[in-house]
């Protein structure tokens, strides 16, 4: 891959970056409320976002720099196994449909802004609130780091090295988020998602025709996997459980993050969320096709030092440079959006590690919507076991979020996030049943 400065691509990139920056400052005036001093207005856009804005805002979460860069990179390297992102982003929406309108109603009725607020309101425990809030912050950090990985790959392809371009971008964006609150990322999400849509549609429509069709793309990938002796177009039998638990665990984790919850809380009704659950799979279809860019990398015969370069290298090789610049701008803006959203060796393992963490807030956040049986001490104990137990297992497995399990003759690997969540719920239930027997009053 060339990393020389490419003037045309860079000019297009700068144009769109400036466009987005101007929009960020315009956002201060968009749907302007009487005051931004109220946290509801600044952080949640006044809970007024309808179907379209919510669609762009929430859907955009799955089209970050990380998705566009790392998912194809994983598929490029390991094949079918990396495709778990597709079932993950399908089964997440029925979950959103069933659970998130209830959570939204709770936050609306009581004026909550964060997951910590919800948990404190439900269980009256500062300890549990702290656990949930801190987990949210910790789990978001690797996520932000991932966006930087994606953005660095895009900037590198443009010939921009070092931290200075990155730093300038962040200062500008932090400034207008400070002045406009969630309105800034919501407005930018329109531009960025439309750009990404154009890029993805162009990529999946044009690249295969340049490479001799999808049949040829799959055949080339198969040949490449056999030549290097690892990776495959289908799953190995011992990967089944890992594939399914990764999809399930990621789906349950996806809407526990502070930035995704913000998108939910900012919508204007439970109905908006339900309708979005039916409309958001449109993103998933493109994500699935995007993952196949990894195979197209093989078909194009790319020779890469770093699998994360597969998408930028494909665009550079097969697209005219003005369109490559457009694509990189879309990717880089996607990365920035995540940073904005939050006022505050394989990239994928990092993502799955923070999935292990954030999943441990699931019982505290979701169970209270359905039952009053759980009490704070049980949930704190469960969180403690899940969070630290899960982290320990990830550590033991050499920072891989997968745990090998052998039952009798069969052995398989399981996503540690799911194991830790099961342990979490089990401990919470056991501790809680002891507490309720002694008729423990609600902690306050």
């Amino acid at each position: 891959m060339t990393t020389e400065l490419n003037t045309t691509a860079l000019a297009v990139f700068v144009f769109f970056f400036v466009l987005v920056t101007v929009m960020g400052f315009v956002a201060t005036h968009w749907r302007r409320p009487k005051t931004l001093a109220h946290i509801d207005e600044w952080g949640l856009g006044g809970r007024s976002f309808g179907i379209w804005i919510t669609w762009f805002l929430v859907g955009g979460d799955f089209y970050t720099a990380y998705t566009v860069i790392a998912v194809p990179a994983l598929v490029y390297t390991v094949g079918a196994y990396g495709f778990f992102a597709l079932p993950y982003t399908i089964i997440v929406y029925p979950f959103v449909f069933m659970v998130m309108p209830l959570l939204w109603q709770r936050t609306k009725d009581f004026g909550y802004v964060t997951a910590g607020d919800v948990v404190h309101g439900q269980f009256g425990s500062r300890g549990l609130e702290l656990a949930v809030a801190v987990t949210g912050v910790i789990a978001t950090m690797p996520y932000i780091a991932l966006q930087l990985v994606g953005m660095t790959a895009a900037l590198k392809a443009l010939g921009l090295h070092g931290e200075v371009p990155l730093a300038i971008a962040f200062i500008v964006l932090a400034l207008y988020t400070y002045s406009a609150g969630l309105r800034a990322p919501a407005l930018i999400a329109f531009v960025k998602d439309i750009m990404i849509y154009i890029v993805v549609i162009a990529a999946v429509a044009l690249i295969p025709s340049k490479l001799g069709g999808y049949a040829n793309v799959f055949a080339a990938a198969d040949a490449a996997f056999q030549a290097k002796g690892s990776g495959s177009l289908l799953l190995q039998p011992n990967q089944y459980v890992a594939y399914a638990t990764l999809a399930l665990g990621s789906a349950l984790a996806a809407f526990m993050y502070p930035h995704t919850l913000t998108g939910i809380f900012a919508s204007n009704s439970g109905n908006t969320i339900r309708k979005n659950a039916a409309l958001l799979p449109a993103y998933t279809l493109l994500l699935g096709l995007l993952a196949l860019l990894g195979y197209m990398g093989h078909a194009a015969g790319l020779k890469l030092d770093n699998a994360n370069d597969v998408v930028p290298a494909l665009f550079q090789t097969l697209f005219p440079s003005w369109f490559a610049g457009f694509a990189f701008a879309a990717i880089a803006i996607g990365a920035l959006l995540v940073i904005l959203f939050l006022p505050t060796q394989f990239a994928l393992d990092l993502q799955l590690l923070d999935g292990v963490w954030i999943l441990q807030t699931f019982p505290a956040l979701v169970f209270g919507l359905y039952t009053n049986w759980f009490r704070a001490p049980g949930l704190i104990a469960g969180w403690f076991v899940g969070f630290f137990g899960g982290t320990l297992f990830v550590w033991i497995n050499g920072l891989k979020p997968l745990q090998p399990v052998t039952i009798g003759e069969t052995s398989f690997t399981v996503y540690i996030g799911v194991l830790a969540l099961v342990a979490n719920i089990f401990v919470a239930a056991v501790v809680n049943s002891f507490m309720t027997k002694r008729n423990q009053p609600r902690a306050h």
Binding site: A80, F83, L86, P87, I90, I91, Y93, P94, F97, M98, G213, Y214, A215, N216, V217, F218, L233, L234, L235, Y240, Y243, A244, A247, L248, S269, G270, N271, R274, K275, A277, A278, L279, P281, A282, T284, L285, G288, L289, L292
Partner: protein, 65 residues
């Protein structure tokens, strides 16, 4: 609309979980469709199917708000 029907329609949303999380259903190469091995087009096909099921569930409980 009848509330019980709304609840029943929500059970439809279990179907994608079964169809996608039981990997032996679809870990095959054949039949190939438009150049895509079965493993790939089967999972992609679940996107419109799931959206449709969600839409049915949505229609059935729209008046609950």
């Amino acid at each position: 609309m009848d509330k019980r029907f709304g609840t029943a329609a929500c059970w439809l949303l279990i179907i994608p979980y079964i169809g996608l999380l039981w990997v032996p259903f679809y870990n095959f190469h054949d039949p190939v469709l438009f150049g895509f091995p079965f493993f790939y087009w089967y999972q992609l096909a679940w996107v419109p199917v799931t959206a449709f099921l969600t839409w049915i569930a949505y229609r059935s409980m729209r008046n609950d708000d």
